[in-house]
């Protein structure tokens, strides 16, 4: 078996021509690319400058680190400083500023913080350090939730008493429906996140089509992104709104049912606060009753996840995450806020829109 190449420049040129032809028949088109990895790839390819003037790509809220609340980050940093506590987390989380502090700052003050690439490593660490309370920061979208669920299951099965989970998982489709409902954002269609879709499949996005928006599940290579844009534009021309899948080599119609089952054996659907956006009903995950003893917020009385207005002062990340403001239109962009000295989460994360614009330009 081998991987098929989706980057042929001549086909890319033809697709750009198709998009231009469709754009003639359309007014202003605002397509939201939901996923931070799409934002990075679009920036790297310089795609925004190649599209017709009336077709705009708007970066969405698909940066899990950016939408994790400031209060949550502060709470994690605070508990990391407590004696005999150890925080285990993905690397992206460490530099993100909370409201008062960050994990990075806690670490420089002596906190025990381990960076891992999988929650299974948190299980290992807890086994190796029985005298410490090990807390895994269970964050991310549907791509990371199955892994968190597996780790929680192992903790319960093996009865690992010193391991718990500080949960702030979020789910993408309810957030997109909430953004569509905000008419001021005037979103015309979506490039849906390919790898979230690999887990959940097509059906959870159907409400978007019912709200009248075309949406295409899109992969991450140049031809994937261009075909996604072409298909959204074609649907707009024909006044159709469906969920289409342009990434069938990875995304099955039903997603990965085993992964979804794994998630819902451990988690229930819950409301969630998205940093800079606000509370979105049914857009998060909380540990089910039978796993509550592994919930760090219950075990240690950590305050529940924070609210909405929790960006650093003068930071426009909230409007950037909603697609209301282009990153380079923020007064702090590139001056007082840079990847070296970030003010807000969107400039820190490798998936943040501000970081993408800074790295590749608009």
């Amino acid at each position: 078996m081998s991987l098929v190449d989706f980057s042929d420049p001549s086909t890319a040129g033809l697709l750009l021509g198709r998009i231009a032809a469709a754009a003639h028949a359309l007014g202003t088109v605002r397509i939201m690319e939901v996923c931070g990895t799409h934002t990075m790839e679009i920036g790297r390819l310089g795609l925004r400058s190649l599209l017709p003037k009336n077709v705009e790509l708007v970066s969405g809220p698909g940066c899990p680190v950016c939408v994790t609340s400031g209060a949550y980050l502060d709470a994690a940093a605070t508990i990391a400083l407590s004696k005999n506590f150890r925080i285990v987390t993905y690397g992206d989380m460490v530099r993100v500023p909370g409201l008062r502090t960050s994990l990075d700052e806690a670490k420089s003050n002596g906190a025990a913080i381990d960076v891992v690439t999988s929650p299974l490593q948190a299980v290992e660490i807890a086994r190796r350090k029985p005298n410490e309370q090990v807390i895994f920061l269970a964050v991310g979208f549907e791509t990371t939730a199955p892994a968190s669920a597996k780790a929680v299951s192992i903790a319960k099965q093996e009865g690992i008493p010193n391991l718990s989970f500080f949960v702030s998982h979020k789910t993408v489709p309810p957030a997109l429906s909430a953004l569509v409902a905000d008419k001021e954002l005037a979103i015309s269609g979506f490039l849906l996140p390919g790898h979230v879709s690999a887990v959940i499949g097509e059906k959870p996005y159907w409400p978007l089509a019912q709200q009248g928006l075309p949406a295409v599940i899109t992969g991450f290579e140049p031809l994937d992104i261009l075909s996604g844009i072409t298909m959204v534009c074609d649907m707009l021309v024909h006044k159709r709104a469906s969920v289409l899948n342009a990434y069938q080599r990875i995304v099955k119609r039903e997603g990965n049912p085993r992964a979804v089952e794994t998630v819902f054996r451990v988690f229930d659907v819950a409301d969630a606060a998205w940093r800079g956006i606000g509370l979105i009903p049914g857009s998060g995950l909380a540990l089910r009753q039978e796993f509550r003893e592994y919930d760090a917020s219950i075990r240690f009385g950590i305050p529940p996840d924070g609210g909405a207005a929790d960006m650093p002062e003068a930071c426009s990340c909230g409007d950037v995450l909603k697609g209301r403001l282009r990153p380079d239109a923020c007064p702090l962009f590139g001056t007082s806020c840079t990847p070296e000295h970030p003010v807000g989460p969107c400039m820190v994360s490798s998936e943040g829109s501000c970081a993408a614009y800074f790295k590749y330009g608009a």
Binding site: M1, S2, L3, V4, F6, T11, L14, L15, G17, R18, A21, A22, H24, A25, C35, G36, T37, G62, P64, Y90, D92, T117, S118, P119, L120, Q121, V139, G140, F141, T143, T144, P146, A147, K150, P193, H195, V196, A198, V199, F220, L223, S227, T230, M231, D234, V237, H238, A246, Y247, Q248, R249, I250, V251, K252, N256, R258, A259, T262, S350, E351
Partner: protein, 78 residues
């Protein structure tokens, strides 16, 4: 966090596979997938293979995409 590349399965032991990810050898838990075999490409996220790569679908998509690129939509003005 959502970035992933397909990794090639080199060997399997129980629910753990050794995979080649862009030249780096690493391990991945394959318990979220059915029927993973040596030589498959799988998409690995935070230590877990979450989906299999389907080469036949990739070729179909590329064909459809070429067709899309070469077709002028008849509903669009010239």
């Amino acid at each position: 966090m959502c970035l992933a590349v397909p990794a090639k399965v080199i060997s399997i032991e129980g629910s753990t596979a050794t995979v080649d990810m862009m030249g780096n050898t690493t391990s991945a838990d394959i318990s979220l997938l059915e029927n993973v075999t040596i030589g498959d490409y799988v998409l690995v996220h935070v230590g877990f293979a979450i989906q299999k790569y389907d080469e036949a679908e990739a070729k179909i998509t590329l064909d459809l995409l070429q067709e899309l690129a070469h077709t002028v939509d008849p509903h669009e003005p010239g």
